[in-house]
C-alpha cells in the first residue's frame, strides 16, 4: 500500500513539474481514492513538484509564466482537496494579510505572491488593491495575522507604503505582526528605511522570507 501511495505521489509531483494541469488534478483524485491523506498529498505530491519548479525558477532555469502556471495548478488541486482536509489537519505555515498599498491599483505581482504563499501552505487573506493603512491594520488585527505583506509597483506610491509600514508598527499589533514588502518600487534598502521586517525580490523568495519571519516569531 505504502509503495503504491509513494508511486501516486511521485507521479503527482511529476505532473506538477511537467505542468500538466489535467494530469495533476487526476493525480489528486487518484490519491484520494487510494486513501492517501490530504495533508500528505499536499506535502509529498504537490509540494514536492512546486518546490522543484520554484527552485529552478530561482536558478533562472524556469520562467515566470511557468511559475505562475504551477501556482494555478496548485490552486486547482487544493480546491479538489479542500473538502477532504480535516479540521486542523492542515497545519498552516502562518497567516498572511496581503495588499497593494493605497494609491496602487496594480495586482499582478500581489496575486502571484499570494498564490505562491498559498501553495506553500500559508493562509492568505487578500485585501485587494489601493488599501488604506487603517484598513490593513484593522484586517491584520481581525484575522490575527502573523505577517502583513505589502506590494507596490510604482515609485509614486512609496510614501503610502512607508505610511502603511509605520501604521502597522505603531498600532497595538505592531509588536507581534511582521511586515514583508515587495514589488518593483521596493528593495532591501527601502525596506530598512521604512522599518519593514523583510523584503522579497520576487514571489518565490516571498515564501522563504515569510518562513524566516515565522521562524523569528516562533523564537
Amino acid at each position: 500500500m505504502s509503495s503504491e501511495h509513494d508511486r501516486i505521489l511521485k507521479d503527482l509531483a511529476g505532473s506538477m513539474i511537467d505542468m500538466e494541469l489535467e494530469a495533476a488534478k487526476a493525480g489528486v483524485v487518484e490519491a484520494l481514492g487510494a486513501g492517501v491523506p490530504a495533508k500528505r498529498i499536499i506535502e509529498e505530491g504537490l509540494g514536492v513538484g512546486m518546490e522543484h519548479i520554484g527552485n529552478r525558477f530561482a536558478a533562472g532555469e524556469y520562467f515566470l509564466s511557468e511559475l505562475i502556471f504551477a501556482g494555478y495548478i496548485m490552486q486547482e488541486a487544493l480546491a479538489i482537496l479542500e473538502p477532504h482536509l480535516e479540521a486542523g489537519a492542515a497545519v498552516s505555515e502562518g497567516r498572511v494579510v496581503i495588499a497593494s498599498v493605497e494609491g496602487d491599483l496594480h495586482d499582478i505581482g500581489k496575486n502571484i505572491a499570494g498564490s505562491m504563499l498559498r501553495s506553500a501552505g500559508f493562509e492568505v487573506i487578500d485585501l485587494g488593491v489601493d488599501v488604506s493603512p487603517e484598513r490593513i491594520v484593522e484586517a491584520a488585527g481581525e484575522h490575527g495575522a502573523d505577517i502583513v505583506a505589502l506590494s507596490a509597483l510604482l515609485s509614486v506610491v512609496v510614501p503610502y507604503m512607508e505610511e502603511t509600514v509605520r501604521a502597522v508598527k505603531e498600532s497595538s499589533i505592531g509588536g507581534r505582526v511582521k511586515v514583508l514588502i515587495g514589488g518593483r518600487a521596493a528593495d532591501v534598502d527601502s525596506a530598512r528605511r521604512m522599518g519593514a521586517d523583510a523584503y522579497a525580490h520576487d514571489a518565490w523568495e516571498g515564501i522563504s522570507k515569510a518562513r524566516e519571519l515565522m521562524a523569528s516569531i516562533a523564537k
Binding site: M19, L21, F57, G60, Y62, F63, L64, S65, E66, I68, F69, Y72, E102, G103, D104, L105, H106, D107, I108, N111, I112, S115, V129, D130, L154, S155, V156, V157, V158, Y160, R184, A185, D187, D189, H201, D202
Partner: protein, 385 residues
C-alpha cells in the same frame, strides 16, 4: 555643430557624433514645469499619469495636439534630442471610452483603466477578453480608421530645431495581456487555453503592425516597440513561447522597418539577457532600451552586442534620480556614458521614465552632466566581435 536629428541618427547608426545624444521620457508634471503650461486632461489613457476627463472643452484631437506640443516644447526647453509620438495617443476616429463607473473605463482595445484622483494618476486594472466568446464578440480597431494627424503634427513640429521623431508602438505581449486581465491570467491561458491565447496575440499583432506601418508612412525616423517581455527575474516566458508567439510579429515589423530604412528599437523592462542573443538573431532589431541597471549590466551588453545593437540607457530612476544628491546623478550619468558611448551606437536615457517621484533638479543635472561629460571622444567599454 550637429542638429538634434543629425546627432541622434548618427549615434544609432554606430557613428560618433559631436556628443552623446540625450533622451528624456518625461512625466506630465515635468512637462508642465518646463513649459509653464498645463497638460490637458484627455478622454482616455495616454500614459504619464495624465488625468482623464469625461468632458473636455477642447475637441479630442485638440487635447492630443496640445499635449504633444507641450511634450515637444518641454524637450526643447530641457535641451534633449528627440521627440516621441505614441500609439497610445492615436485613437480611432469617433472614439468614446466606455465608462463602467465614474472613474473606470474600457478603451478601444478592451483594456480597462481607472483614475485614482488622490495620486493623480490612472491605472490599467483589467481587460474584457476573458473567454473565446468574448474574443468572438470583440471588434478590433481598424488601422485605417485611426486618426494619424498627431503623427503628422509631431513630424511637422520636429522640423523646428530638426529633431528626430520616435514612433512608439505596441505589438506583441503587453496589449494581449492587458486585454486578457493581466500577465498572470495571460500566462495561465498560454498553457491552459493555448488556442485562445494565440488568437488574441495574432489579432493584436496584425492590427498593430498595420498601425506601425501607417506611422512609418507619416515620416517618423525611428520605431520604438514598447511591449515589456521581461521582469527583473528575467524573460516572462520561456524561449519556445517567445519563438512561437512573441518574436515572429517583431521580426515581421523589423523587416518592414528595414525595407523602409527605419531603425527598430526594442524596449522592454527587466532582464532580457538570458535570451538576448537568440532574440536578436531571430528578429534583427536595431536597438535596445532601457537596460535596467537593477538587473542588466550595460557594459556587458555593449561588449557582447554593441556592434549589432545601439543602446539607449540607463541612468537609474529607482534611487539616483528620485533620492540622489547632485553628485550621485553626475556619477551615474558618467557611468552610463563610460559603459555605452564608445564608438557611437549609444543614446543616453533614464532607465525607464522620469516618473513623478523624480527630483526635477536631478533631471536638469542629468542633462547638464551628459552635455559636459558626453562630448566625443568618450566612452570606455569597447564593443567586441
Amino acid at each position: 555643430m550637429m542638429t538634434h536629428r543629425e546627432r541622434y541618427m548618427a549615434a544609432i547608426h554606430h557613428e560618433e557624433p559631436d556628443r552623446v545624444p540625450i533622451y528624456a521620457g518625461l512625466d506630465a508634471k515635468f512637462k508642465e514645469m518646463l513649459t509653464g503650461r498645463r497638460h490637458a486632461s484627455s478622454k482616455s489613457y495616454i500614459g504619464g499619469g495624465v488625468t482623464v476627463a469625461k468632458e473636455a472643452k477642447m475637441t479630442d484631437y485638440e487635447v492630443l495636439e496640445w499635449n504633444q506640443k507641450l511634450s515637444n516644447d518641454a524637450i526643447r526647453r530641457l535641451g534633449t534630442d528627440a521627440f516621441i509620438v505614441s500609439d497610445y495617443w492615436l485613437w480611432p476616429r469617433g472614439y468614446e471610452p466606455r465608462y463602467l463607473d465614474e472613474h473606470t473605463f474600457v478603451d478601444w482595445w478592451g483594456k480597462t483603466y481607472r483614475l485614482l484622483p488622490k495620486v493623480g494618476t490612472n491605472y490599467w486594472i483589467d481587460g474584457i477578453i476573458k473567454t473565446e466568446e468574448d474574443l468572438d464578440e470583440f471588434v478590433p480597431p481598424d488601422p485605417d480608421e485611426i486618426n494619424y494627424d498627431l503623427v503628422d503634427f509631431a513630424v511637422r513640429d520636429a522640423r523646428d530645431g530638426d529633431y528626430p521623431v520616435i514612433g512608439a508602438v505596441h505589438l506583441a505581449g503587453m496589449f494581449p495581456y492587458l486585454m486578457m486581465g493581466g500577465l498572470d491570467r495571460f500566462c495561465i491561458n498560454l498553457y491552459a487555453r493555448p488556442r485562445f491565447t494565440g488568437r488574441v496575440l495574432d489579432m493584436v499583432a496584425e492590427v498593430q503592425t498595420e498601425i506601425a506601418k501607417n506611422i512609418i508612412d507619416r515620416g517618423v525616423d525611428i520605431i520604438a516597440e514598447t511591449d515589456d517581455i521581461a521582469g527583473v527575474d528575467g524573460p516572462f516566458w520561456p524561449p519556445e513561447i517567445m519563438r512561437r508567439h512573441i518574436w515572429p510579429p517583431i521580426k515581421r515589423l523589423a523587416d518592414h522597418c528595414h525595407r523602409r530604412g527605419v531603425p527598430y528599437l526594442k524596449h522592454t523592462d527587466g532582464d532580457i539577457m538570458p535570451v538576448l542573443e537568440e532574440f536578436i538573431d531571430f528578429c534583427g532589431f536595431d536597438g535596445l532600451n532601457p537596460i535596467e541597471p537593477q538587473c542588466m549590466d550595460m557594459a556587458e551588453v555593449k561588449r557582447r552586442f554593441g556592434r549589432r545593437l545601439y543602446l539607449r540607457g540607463n541612468v537609474d530612476i529607482t534611487w539616483v534620480i528620485p533620492y540622489g544628491a547632485e553628485e550621485d546623478v553626475r556619477r551615474d550619468v558618467r557611468r552610463a556614458i563610460d559603459q555605452g558611448a564608445k564608438g557611437g551606437g549609444f543614446v543616453l536615457s533614464e532607465s525607464n521614465s522620469f516618473h513623478p517621484n523624480c527630483k526635477f533638479e536631478n533631471i536638469l543635472t542629468y542633462v547638464d552632466e551628459a552635455k559636459r561629460y558626453g562630448r566625443y571622444p568618450c566612452g570606455k567599454v569597447e564593443a567586441e566581435g
